[in-house]
Symmetry: C2
Subunit: 224 residues, 2 copies
DNA sequence: GTCGACGAAATTGATAACAAAATTGCTTGC
DNA sequence: GCAAGCAATTTTGTTATCAATTTCGTCGAC
């Protein structure tokens, strides 16, 4: 009951926000695409007012930009900004992993280990998309284990801005193998309940992540 | 021109959000106070729709809570949550101070030194409210110097949630003196352009801040 | 006197209509 | 053929209205 909250039908406003956020994150709405209120309202089956507030919320989240009298567009995250986001994410992930190490229960540890197992299996069968997805779940799981709501919320909004870069790093040569080892080290440290070691392991992992993103950006620029 | 943006009259929606945010932060609206849409609309001189979207934005910022069919209230930040917020803030401040040390220009350094001077003068004349205000400016200045927009934005929303605790720690015995020394150390490290040293200095400072907040919370609980 | 049911008032949620601004396309003049 | 200006369309911004829900007060039963 602590977190459940007997499901009183959510207002459509919330639905509209989630619909749009998901649409942007999943790529249904492309960067710079105009988001016309009435179109989206019809798409969701709600009214303009709700779409309007949803767009205002998403603007604050950094997913859309609006100009007065000119409506909203999907915001394009620049390369420089992507780096900033990873840096901010890193700062918070370090915090989170410390708490995860301190607060993990036996069940938490088991679930974390299971996720590592799944990552390994995805890696072994060379299914890098599945690896990337499970990777995301691993980090999410860490956030949950940390029981640090504030950090979790901030990381959530940061992550949704990163989709454009998220999964591509994993295709870099050798990255997946390194990533797997890094995650294992994090898992071991959390299992040992050692915050300092967990932070060190996470720090090593994040260095790898940043390098990966930088390479993705560099190669994308080379393409053009 | 990079950041200026020829001031096209802001939509009332934005005004409403700022008005409410400021009202909550400055204490015009108290924790748990109901925020009735039409009242606020009349107060600002706008319509309900704008207030509605403003409230939705502020909910995402964590400043208000809304229940379906029951409107919005000013959110009361619990003690436990206050600690979380300081922790998250800390993680980001450490990031920021590193970048500040790396990116500070001579002018930046001068402005930082001037702020330290003002803090010292406020301390000497025992004007702790002014000290606290300048303290806030110092941290804001660091964020600006860091030129790390992402971290800056996140810190902005975290700070607005902390007002209830912000200034009270400074009245603890000895805290002001320690705080001043800590800030000077940070300033010196930034002036030296040494990110590691700056981070260490900031870390020491933040430990002091967290202890201060914890004491404020403890003594507030003792009061009741 | 207390508790619950009922009803009125207040407030939120949803929809429609209107006004203002921007965009588009067309016409006209050169 | 091209550009400037004008008109039509599209889209946003604002306001009004109505329905649904909650809240509050009153009345009555026990």
């Amino acid at each position: 009951m602590a977190t459940a909250e007997t499901k009183t039908k959510q207002p459509e406003r919330v639905d509209a926000t989630n619909f749009l956020r998901e649409g942007i994150v999943k790529g249904r709405f492309l960067p710079n695409e105009r988001l016309i209120e009435i179109e989206i309202a019809r798409l969701i089956g709600t009214n303009r007012a709700n779409v309007r507030t949803a767009l205002a919320c998403l603007e604050q989240e950094g997913l859309v930009v609006t100009e007065p009298n000119r409506g909203a567009r999907v915001r394009l995250i620049s390369d420089a900004e992507a780096i900033e986001i990873v840096q901010a994410r890193s700062a918070l992930e370090l915090l989170v992993v410390r708490f995860a190490a301190m607060r993990a229960t036996p069940e938490d540890r088991a679930e974390l280990a299971a996720l590592i197992g799944e990552m390994k299996s995805a890696y072994d069968s060379n299914d890098l998309m599945r690896y990337s997805a499970t990777n995301g779940l691993f980090h999410k799981k860490l956030q949950k284990i940390s029981r640090h709501e504030t950090a979790r919320k901030l990381l959530g909004t940061l992550r949704s801005q990163m989709v454009r870069f998220q999964y591509r790093a994993i295709f870099l040569p050798n990255r997946a193998a390194k990533s797997l080892a890094e995650h294992e080290a994090i898992m071991k440290a959390v299992e040992a309940g050692d915050p300092d070691r967990a932070e060190r392991a996470m720090r090593r992992h994040l260095i790898g992540v940043i390098e990966g993103i930088e390479q993705v950006i560099a190669s994308a620029q080379a393409e053009v």
